[in-house]
Symmetry: C2
Subunit: 210 residues, 2 copies
């Protein structure tokens, strides 16, 4: 895959294409036109064509898209053809929820370990994996080729822990802590700020008249 500058807006839409194409594939549908995709995804057909043209098209005039092929290609673009080794920092409810969610593993995101700094939690078993103390993070990251860390810890410690993880060689952070992380260039951060999302819902509720 060549490196191109694709806008984050387009990239943000790719997983949704991937999801819909996966569903079509599961239903045994082999081809789909941009108009049909447009109808089920409620996006304009021209938006779909534009988005997919960023990656060289894939569509054929008069035929549409081959579902299986497009699904596979978008998967490759998203890097889903490679395996990622993840650790979760913070074995609270959210950390455990993510650790237990098997669908991520089916996409190649393998949770290798889970860490916590609470001695009462360390040593507990989650899905057959022992919660480790955070002092063991460095060695674990280096020995297990971990490339993604998931932060489900309070914002007070997230900034410091993120810095440590980067120094151990982590390349990506999936951040659930309610704080923006300041990481070196080249380190990828994807934030899930749940409170922000809930406030956005609140705004949209408050400006609507029933």
């Amino acid at each position: 895959m060549e490196e191109k500058e694709i806008s984050q807006a387009v990239i943000g839409r790719l997983p949704r294409y991937f999801r819909y194409l996966g569903e079509l594939k599961d239903e045994g549908i082999e081809r789909v036109s941009s108009q049909e995709l447009s109808d089920i995804m409620q996006v304009t057909a021209s938006q779909i064509r534009q988005d997919l043209n960023n990656f060289g098209g894939f569509g054929q005039q008069g035929y549409g898209y081959n579902v299986g092929h497009l699904y596979e290609e978008i998967g490759k673009i998203l890097g889903l053809d490679k395996e990622h080794n993840l650790i979760i920092i913070g074995a609270g409810h959210l950390g455990q929820a993510l650790f237990n969610y098997m669908n991520f593993e089916r996409r190649g995101f393998i949770f290798r370990g889970i860490f916590d700094n609470n001695p009462a939690v360390c040593g507990q078993q989650i899905r057959g994996v022992t919660v480790r103390p955070m002092q063991e993070m460095e060695r674990f990251v280096r020995e297990n080729n971990i490339d993604i860390a998931v932060l489900t810890i309070p914002k007070t410690s997230a900034v410091e822990v993120a810095e440590q993880l980067v120094s151990y060689g982590i390349k990506g952070i999936w951040n659930f802590a309610h704080v923006d992380l300041n990481v070196p260039k080249g380190i990828q951060v994807e934030n899930v700020h749940l409170s922000d999302s809930l406030m956005k819902l609140s705004y949209n509720l408050s400006t609507h008249i029933y």
Copy 2:
């Protein structure tokens, strides 16, 4: 608050302003210039002025912004001056994680109940609240003035449950199910598609050369 058409992009940035202003307020800082805000938020000062101008400005030439006032006004814009009554559908790990997260309550999002269709889970206590069977949803929603439902159930049932909830009078859905919901006009949906977020991280990792 007058109703205006504000872009979802601007609205999406408001919670972040609110978060930073809250931190400044907690530190006892009374006023801030758009340049100072720009430095700590890593957004351009002109973006900040533009965003806040959508709501009438709040800034004074040569003074900047009054932190406490701006914090309060953005809170009002976000509807945080009103209380919302929420229920969670799905008492799995994620549902429990959200139910246990007290910071939402401090912002006026009060979790009134939690529901599940698994008989083994119903009757369990979470934070002193009993998990109820989903057959009791309708009565509970109507009797407790519930306006927001949080869906932490599999995608196979999410569409149907969302339709039921809307018919019971729910106005907003915070959707964690991995499916797009089709709701009537006027019903607000905010999606948290965790897999999509993880795939975006994967994409950004795969297109970066270390």
